[in-house]
Symmetry: C2
DNA sequence: CTGTTAGCGCCTTCAA
DNA sequence: TTGAAGGCGCTAACAG
């Protein structure tokens, strides 16, 4: 369906008796155009209801003014709020955003890369799928010099910029919080160890344990795919063992919730709070468990920062393509946190 | 940042000793090109690693192959799953998607309209903000013949296609479910009455009440903005009255949760289940309240259907621009639904 | 400071 | 069934 013709810069030019290039330059705020002309052009553009045709401009400049985003799933709050941050910043700078979901599967992540590449995006922001263990597909971008920024779940193999939250500190705070409550036997359910994210949370936990001279029991540290099923399995294993932990620090929200659910279902009391990283933004968290202590990280901030970094690279404001930005985390202790999680 | 030059149809043409137009037609599967030539062109395209330049094509055809989406907030599960459905269908058909969030505010909704219009989208899918009470800003699209499809929260003033779920039946099922549990005094917290969605749920409720000869008490029907604060206020009003209801049917998830939270906090027993519409997809619902009965509606299906409809209109497969599609709902009764909601 | 000219890559008449 | 030519709207040299 073809649309009716629109006003172009030439219509403005004709109306003003000047040339198209002058109009173009005026509209782009080129320094070589007099202020008087600029004003005249802008006024005329407004009265004629001119809408710039990005398509033509993009074709000419071979920039799409579009960035691509690859995330595991948009339905997770952390990622949807990251999208909000990305969209907001990008739109303000005149960029559009294409979103692709990997569903946490490497295969689909590859498809996303192809899709975005074919769309000729000017740059890409990505958070890798849980089971992505090699990053060759991303070379489609790096080979063609398309800027790439990772966030949250980052890739160290590729030389790109990254935006992460302070997972080490998050792990540390979570563990120390439990220790301060008097817990000695603190289990940690960690995530896939090829992701820095989970390595760092684990290291933070270990540091807190060591700092307070608490013996670390390797049986209390479990590597999990962090899904619901495995969360329930971990809960069963830990809570029904002959020597159950005082507290559990789960490395993500799904796992923490699975544990709470399991415990509730079986009528098992968890003596202290569960700590969980990366969950406090979840809008239902206080419904879920008013006593759950969480580590706050803002998806919005992460998305915003990643976009800022990416656009800087795209616009060549910075030559440095390997910056790593670490955003702060904060422990959120809910009221009545001595109650049984419910 | 300009990118290095790419392979064009002329490179293919040169390699094959034919003209650019033939290549273009072959690639677009034009019927006037012999199968042999088509195959040769496709093969050569593959060997040369040709990537079509959508920009140029779009400029020429003045179609952007992009659709715009306006939703209240992406972080709500219903909408993020709708987005997933929209993206999936659109991408498969070669369309890109631009997402704009209104934050449930009419002002921002207007901005979204402008943004999408400036992006020259080929069509728009929208679910209106809660406080949108007039639809003039949407005329930006209809005036220019840009196809528009509403979903879930639809607008009746404008002559457009719509995709909704069967809210009437949802309301009916919810109320009848509570009646079947022996409840007589069933409160209903309804939403803004300028939205069909909530009118229909209310009507369904009323029909069920009448069918079972249950007296309708107007004090038990409350119109609410359906946010958390008002949910708590409604809970207080209903549950602490001298004659509290047997059960409450809340018209959305947030309100139902607020009520559960309030009741739990105050130690008030709600004699029967709470019914809630439009919530069963929420991934945490079973954590929140294993005994909550919900009305299932699939955001994914709604998004998919809306996109299908929109693309049909864009591609002129159908002249009918006022179709209304009603998708089915289903009541989901959780196990142990006689327990106190917790 | 402004105008002229020549494309960006593709599609689409028109002619063969 | 194919080719030639022109132009979508804009920008970026190159000239003034």
């Amino acid at each position: 369906m073809k649309k009716e013709s629109n006003i172009t810069i030439h219509d403005i030019a004709k109306a003003l008796g000047i040339s198209g290039s002058t109009v173009s330059r005026a509209l782009n705020n080129n320094s070589r155009i007099s202020d008087k002309t600029k004003k005249a052009v802008r006024d005329m553009a407004k009265t004629l209801g001119y809408q710039p045709n990005a398509l033509a401009s993009n074709l000419r400049t071979s920039c799409t003014n579009t960035i691509g985003v690859i995330i595991p799933r948009i339905s997770r709050y952390f990622f949807s709020s990251a999208i909000t941050g990305i969209e907001e910043f990008a739109r303000e700078k005149g960029f559009n955003v294409i979103i692709c979901q990997s569903n946490d599967q490497k295969e689909r992540e590859s498809d996303c890369v192809q899709t975005l590449f074919a769309s000729r995006v000017d740059g890409v922001i990505s958070s890798v799928a849980l089971n992505t263990d090699n990053y060759d597909h991303y070379k489609t971008f790096t080979n063609k010099n398309i800027p790439l920024v990772f966030f949250d779940r980052v890739c160290d193999e590729l030389e790109t910029s990254k935006v992460v939250v302070d997972d080490f500190k998050g792990g540390f705070l979570a563990a120390e919080h439990l220790i301060s409550k008097g817990c000695k036997r603190i289990a940690h359910i960690s995530g896939p160890q090829h992701l820095n994210l989970y390595i760092n949370r684990l290291q933070g936990y270990l540091k807190a344990m060591r700092k307070h001279n608490i013996q670390i029991d390797k049986d209390q540290i479990i590597e999990s795919p962090l899904n619901r099923e495995d969360g329930l399995a971990c809960a069963k294993k830990l809570l029904e063992s002959s020597n159950p932990p005082d507290a559990i620090f789960a490395a993500n929200d799904t796992t923490a919730l699975s544990i709470i659910l399991y415990a509730k279902d079986k009528g098992i009391r968890i003596p202290q709070d569960l700590a969980v990283v990366g969950f406090s933004n979840e809008p239902f968290s206080e419904y879920l468990s008013p006593s759950l202590t969480t580590i706050e990280q803002s998806g919005f901030d992460v998305g915003l920062k990643a976009t800022e970094l990416l656009l800087d690279i795209i616009q060549n404001k910075t030559g440095n393509r390997q910056e790593t930005i670490v955003l702060p985390v904060r422990l959120i202790e809910r009221e009545s946190s001595n109650k049984l999680p419910n």
